[in-house]
Symmetry: C2
Subunit: 121 residues, 2 copies
DNA sequence: TCCATATTTCGAGTATTCTCGAATTATGGA
DNA sequence: TCCATAATTCGAGAATACTCGAAATATGGA
């Protein structure tokens, strides 16, 4: 990811409704949620939500797929991955002070919803 | 880090001049740079930069320290760390699809400016 | 075909953000 | 004390973002 894309992605997430949408879609899992359900869940008007979904889609954070009359949106975790990697290496120059503690924290995760064992290394 | 702070931090970085400032300060290292030098380097007016520095400071991304007539700003890499950890665990629920590839990428870093050996594990 | 549902697009109003010149505050040195 | 330098605060203008009602588009079913 290069700077401009990172900038757009950061700006997209730096808005409350959009961050809420993304978090909701993450929790919804790979199946995603249709626009109406998101709007209902977050108490946002359909047209306002549509604008935000469009912004999230434009920067690759969500994926849209028509499913009959409704459109299902799902979070693109790989784009979040790209953003985080950008922040760690391009933005922060791969500084060990940044990366080491994160690497450490990754090992210590306790996941509430995952099915597999705790360690992933 | 909780949601509101993450939101402010994301919004702060989602603006070109501020992202540039942060990146510049990261490259400057722990010693930081004084406001004038940053303004000169990025070709931004002093008062405009001051507004952005204030925003970065408010969300904890930079630290200010008066040094005689000038004020030295330095990047707070721990706050970037907190943001990344928020994105990985609170925002993305610690999904393995997100975390595993990042963990993998961390091991593979080749650092250009670090003095120590490549491996940090 | 006609109607209902789901979502988006359009246009306008309001709010927020960004930038700038001018004025102000703070510090150090003559 | 007086002046020069460094940075911030103030106030205003322009641009951008956010939200909303209304209208348009798309799909599925009677």
């Amino acid at each position: 990811m290069e700077k401009t894309e990172a900038l757009n992605t950061l700006a997209a997430l730096g808005q409350e409704t959009r961050l809420d949408v993304f978090r909701l879609l993450i929790k919804a899992g790979p199946g995603g949620m249709c626009a109406g359900a998101i709007a209902e869940h977050l108490q946002v008007r359909a047209n306002t939500l549509s604008t935000h979904l469009s912004a999230l889609s434009r920067c690759g954070l969500v994926h849209a797929a028509r499913d009959g009359r409704s459109i299902t949106y799902s979070a693109r975790i790989d784009q979040m991955q790209n953003l985080i990697l950008y922040l760690m290496r391009d933005c922060c120059d791969g500084k060990p002070e940044l990366c080491d503690p994160i690497a450490g924290a990754l090992v210590g995760f306790d996941q509430t919803d995952a099915s597999g064992p705790t360690s992933r290394f």
